[in-house]
Structure formats: C-alpha cells, structure tokens
Symmetry: C2
Subunit: 326 residues, 2 copies
C-alpha cells in the first residue's frame, strides 16, 4: 500500500509518520511506499528511509494536487492547513489553502477515478467548526456555525468530503480534533498555547504563564491520541460509518484547575509553583468562545479512544517527549 | 435604493418582482432602480418598466459577478441555482453554478467594499441541506448532512454567507425554503411535483397522478409565503439575528391525505375524484428521504410567517393564479 501524508512536517503529521515508521503493521497492512508532503521538506524517520520520498509542495498552487494524486496513493492523510489565527488575519490565504487546496485535492482524486482509483482519505478537521452558544455537552447532531474563517473552511471541507464520498469518488473520513495537549516544543503565541505551556514548562523546571482562571473548561486529547485517531480511521471498516462522514473525536473535558492538580500529583508541588498567574482579558475572551465539552458517542462507538484524565495526558508527554522521566 | 434580483426569471423570482412592482413600499423604502438578472431575459412587469433593467447573464461565467456588483445594488436577492436533479446529474455544472457562482458574487461584493459598499444579501437556501435520519421535528440547531450535491452546495453557501457577514463584507441572510406548494404552471417531472399537481390540476378540472400513499408527510409553504420571506428578510432589522445567519423558514407540516381533504372542502368531491392513484416505488423512495417537519422557532420569532393549513394554501392559489374563482 502506498500511503501519503500531506502536512507531514506539522506536529501531528510528524508524529503520525513516526508511528508508521515504528510499527510495521500500524495500519493493519504493509506500507510499501510512503510519500511525505509539506510546504517545507518534511523529515524522514530512519527506519523507513528506504521506502519513503518527500515532496516540498504547496497543495494550493496550480497543478500540485494533480501531481500528488498522479502517484495514486492508496491512503491519503490530509493534515495540511493554515492555522486559525493566520486564516483570520489573511482572508485570501486561508480560503486559498484551507478550502481551495483541499477541494483541488478532492477534485484531482475524482479525475483520477477514470482509471478505477478509490483511495481512503482521512481529513483533519477541528472543533472550530462549532460556534457559541453551545449546549452543556455538544452532541453528534449539533450544527456547525463557526465563528472563524478557519472553522468555516473546515466545515465546508467536511461537506465536500461527505458529498465526494457519497458520490463514490473516494472513501473519506473527517476527524474533528480536540485541542492537542501537551503540545511539544517551545511555547507559542496561539491563544490556546497556555493549556500546554502550564504543564510542559514546569515539567522541565521552567516557569509558565496562566492567563485565565482555573475554572476555565476545555476539550483535550494527547498527541498520541490524535495519531491514534488517524491510524484508526485508516484501518477501520468504513461501511459502518454511513453517509455522515465527519466525526467529533472523543476527548477529555477538564478544568484548568484539574490540569494543575494532575501536575501536582505527577510532578509535585514544586512544578505547580512554577505556574505564574497573569490574567489576560484578551485571551480570556477568546477562550470563552470555545467549546468546552462534547458527547462524542458516535466516534467512541466506532472505536476511537482518548484519555480519561489529565494524569494520563501528562504521563504520555513524559513517555513520548521526556524519555520517560522528569 | 437599487434592488437586484438574480434568478428573476424563475418561479419565485418572477413573483418577487411582481410583488415589488405591485406594492410601492413593499420593502419599507422606495425602490428607485430595479435590476433583473437571469440566464434568460427576465420579464419586466409594466408598472416598473421605467426604472427597471434586465440582464441575461450566467453568474458563474468569468467576470459576471463583478459586472453585476459594479452597479452597486443596495439589496441583492440571490435566487439563481441549478435545481436538485440537474445538480445530481451534472456534478461539474452544479458545483460551478451553485457554489462557484455564489462565491464569485460574494467575493465581488467583498472586492467592491473598498469603496464603502455594504449591501444586504438575501440568499435562497433549501431544506435539502438536511439529510436523514431526522428527529420527528427538526430543530434550529440540527446539523446539515445533505444527501445530494445540491444540498451540499446550498449548505456550503450558507457557511460562506455567515462568514462573509461576520467579516463585515455584506449583511447576509440565508432563507431555507420549504417545498413550495401550489407551484403554478404545467406539471413537471421533479419528484416533488405531485404535491402541487394533485391540487393544481383538479382545481381546473384536470386529472393528476398521485404516486405515493396518503400518509406521506412533508413541509410546505405557498409561493406567496416564499415571496413574503424574501421581502421580510430585506426589511427586517438584521442586528437581532446574530451570527447564525441561516434560517429555516416556517411552514406547514401536512400529510398528502390532508392536502386531499382540504381540496374536497374548498373545491368539492368532484375535484378530489380527479386524483388518480398510481403508486411509484421510485418516487416513494426519494420522498422517504426528505424532511417532514420542522420546529422553525427562530424564524417565527424573527417575524417570518407561513400558512397554518392547506385550505389557506389552496385559497391563495385560487386568488393568485385563478383570478379568485374555480
């Protein structure tokens, strides 16, 4: 099987490729060829160097989608996107990459169909397709009324994915990711960064800033779970999904205070003392518009799983990023 | 105020233009200029001939949207679309006209913005944005999982309309129309045609075919109500709508049997006897996938109204199409 990862240089993309490299049968079938695509040259893990190729290409530029699809990958993971903040700041770029780039990919597959081509396509969507006000728990049938251009672009791609799948052009699944926590790497300026910063930094003895109150609730999954969602979507029997192809992934609904308590249990009070409270009304206002809790019944029933407490999320970070010890 | 109707040669478009022609202050302000647009030359009602212009143009062809917007209409009614059956039969044409044409219009308005341009835009959407299975009554927060390409295209345009409105590019409202009944004109081959045929034809002494059972339920509004939705959307204070700009219109949920009973009350048993039962499993299967009932609370609260029984729907047809008598 030829597997393609578009967005392979991103955080989840890299981890997905590492998983495929580490576990020969991760997808339930042999990966004979792996094509890693991103706007910058993505890294190739050593164990799979022999059967991997990289492509530095912008999906939204003329002819790119056709070029990617011409190699006829059997499984396509599409994780490439302009992030939320940038899509809001640059209207044209967001629509060009997140909507037109994805549609170009879908259309290239459709055109490729003339030679009996029917890949599985796993698309990274987001809980940003939802916009407030919300019920206490967002159910699987709640409507998508995004309040960002990024969320709008994701919601539109979900609709296209469902229609192209219904038409028989490809076998598509849309994966609505929770906020990924703990994000590895340096603190970034994304409004959601603090959810990870307040755990990741104290775990290595550094200070972190908490700009909101401890009673702020949000929806999380670990990077390991995110990779698991994609792998499961590539392995599963799609016949049981039916025509509603976009799935809110399971996750953990937790308070910032619960994050901090878990940090105390796993790493002790010294780690907790490294969290510095600096209330930021701008970030608080942004966060107030985000979903806090879901009843992700369909995805759970279809076999997708995530963490059930923050101790687990922190332990996974320690195992995967810190060599197992703090 | 300069008012533009795109899709002015269609059934609702023509009736909307007639309403604007008949009632000077229908929109609550003086219409100083009326531009009627369609792929074929739309008719101009006599009373407004002096201030009206027509344009035979395909919105989806290169440069058309810019040309329309360059005249800077203050209010734009966008009703132009490829119908459901054709959008399903011709994938490319449906997406080109229903999605790309609408997006081109939205983008032309956005570009026009540079000279402080902020029109109101009323978009004709459809209950085809919903796909089964449904709850008994579809509420205002039910998700859009269309099962046709037409419904997908409408749902995508709804998302664009909300985002462009949120961004301040125009003042948009999406109007999800019920099935229009009684459709005037000759019986057509649309799968939904019989809902109108079994009333319209017997009212003028002609036979009509009923291809489904009397216990089939569906969601209706008269052509007069449909025009009323558009007029109200053009007049209303949009500040009270908030960011959820797409509204399921009110309508009447009724059984085919209730249609027939109303026909008997209004036109007598002789009219009823002109309905010929010819069960058609293909049509029955298509109709079984359609929504049957909505709780259109938001739209009602915002002042949109529709009929509450089929006697009323039939009387409106007699008044508007048959000169008031049968």
């Amino acid at each position: 099987m030829h597997v393609m990862v578009i967005g392979a240089a991103g955080m989840i993309g890299r981890k997905l490729v590492e998983r495929l490299a580490a576990a020969e049968g991760a997808l339930g079938y042999e990966v004979s060829r792996l094509t890693l695509v991103d706007v910058i040259e993505p890294p190739i893990p050593a164990p799979i160097a022999g059967k991997s190729a990289t492509l530095a290409i912008d999906l939204s530029s003329e002819g790119s989608a056709e070029r990617l699809v011409s190699s006829r990958p059997d499984v396509i993971f599409h994780l490439a996107a302009i992030v939320s903040g940038e899509a809001e700041a640059d209207f044209d770029k967001g629509y060009r990459v997140n909507l037109d780039g994805t549609r170009a990919l879908f259309d290239a597959i459709r055109q490729g169909q003339r030679q009996r081509y029917f890949p599985r396509l796993i698309f990274a969507s987001s809980i940003a397709v939802f916009g407030q006000p919300f019920p206490e728990k967002i159910g699987d049938e709640f409507f998508t009324t995004p309040l960002t251009s990024y969320g709008t672009q994701k919601a539109i791609c979900e609709l296209l994915l469902a229609d192209y799948t219904r038409r028989g052009f490809f076998d598509g699944i849309g994966i609505r990711l929770p906020t990924i926590c703990i994000r590895p790497g340096a603190p970034n300026k994304a409004a959601s960064g603090f959810f990870s910063n307040i755990l990741r930094e104290p775990l290595v003895g550094k200070e972190a800033v908490l700009p909101v109150e401890e009673n702020v609730r949000h929806w999380f999954a670990s990077p390991r779970s995110a990779v698991g969602f994609f792998v499961h979507a590539a392995r599963m029997d799609t016949a049981v999904i039916g025509p509603r192809r976009n799935l809110t992934m399971p996750g953990l609904s937790a308070l910032v205070g619960e994050e901090i308590e878990a940090l105390g249990r796993v790493a002790g009070p010294k780690a907790v003392s490294l969290i510095r409270r600096e209330p930021d009304p701008v970030i608080r206002a942004i966060v107030a518009g985000w979903p806090t809790n879901f009843d992700a019944r369909r995805a759970r029933k279809l076999g997708f799983t995530a963490e059930t407490n923050f101790d687990e999320i922190i332990r996974i970070h320690i195992e995967d990023e810190l060599g197992g010890r703090i």
